[in-house]
């Protein structure tokens, strides 16, 4: 499956100034690991050492949360995955 992964401009420095990346996989986890292979520095931020989603990030699929089964959630062609940083500044 081919999906679009979108994220904030603050991460564009890790992805050659792109904020919308094509990725392949059958699940969210596979797509994020494919993204990590394409952009290892970004991958190190969003995934922990065991390949799970870092607690500092949340994922939305086509604008909806799929928590708690985020990484195993099946995706289909054309789905949009948004990577959202947990921010707390005021």
């Amino acid at each position: 499956m081919s999906v679009d992964i979108e994220f904030s401009s603050i991460f564009a420095k890790y992805t050659n100034n792109q904020t919308d990346i094509k990725s392949q996989g059958k699940t969210v986890g596979e797509c994020l690991r494919d993204l990590s292979r394409q952009y290892p520095e970004f991958g190190q931020l969003i995934l922990d050492k065991s390949g799970d989603l870092s607690p500092s990030f949340d994922i939305f699929i086509n604008g909806e949360s799929v928590y708690p089964d985020t990484m195993t959630h099946a995706v289909k062609d054309g789905d949009k995955i948004n990577i959202v940083l947990l921010i707390h500044g005021g």
Binding site: S8, I10, S56, N82, I87, G90
Partner: protein, 250 residues
Amino acid sequence: MLSKKELERYDRQIMIPGFGAEGQAKLKKARVFIAGAGGLGSPAAIYLAAAGIGTLRIADHDTVELSNLNRQVLHWEKDIGGEKVASAAAKLKKLNPGIRIETIGETITEANATILVGDADLIVDAMDNLPTRYLLNRTAIKKNIPFFHGAVYGFEGRAMTVIPGRSACLTCLYHGASVPKEKFPVIGVTPAVIGCIQATEVIKYITGLGELLTGRLLNYDGLAMKFTEFSVKRDPGCADCGKLREGKKK
């Protein structure tokens, strides 16, 4: 009721269809608790004061530092070293002498949150750390009053409005996840955007106008100049609001 001076002062917003003198009277009667007088709290408080909210109760335990001044627009160089709440109150009183400003220079804790929020009609979340944000979210749920969340990082910000029992709360959104409190990058225009969104939501809630930002996380990317919305549903297993019945409203 509104005085002649108030009718003139707020004339332009009273003109808004559906707002009227009745809406203005609701703002005058309202008591708003603003948690934090920093980057988000400054614009939120300024615009709520300008709009004529009757009572603003502002809590912040910090003193003003030079590095605050790029974004915390209620505080100026002459205020460095002084209490943020005193600095905020002085400016807001000058902006609008017709409203009441109450200041709380204490740290918001599990032990005092309920007392500090007191009889406020709602909470504006302008904090700089997640534990206190969760605490205020719980306090709002306990009191059955709305909670207006905002957060910033660099050129990015987000906002969501919580109506306990009717829409997802902060814990439904973040599932209780936490990150360590640390110095974060921010440009002043970002909390200005988000703080004004929070103030807009507060005014809409009080006057009953428009559609609230409930069940939706609004994400602002200033570098791309793009707003994105994410759907956030209530979590039936939420530790904080899961047991509240749907539709319960004060």
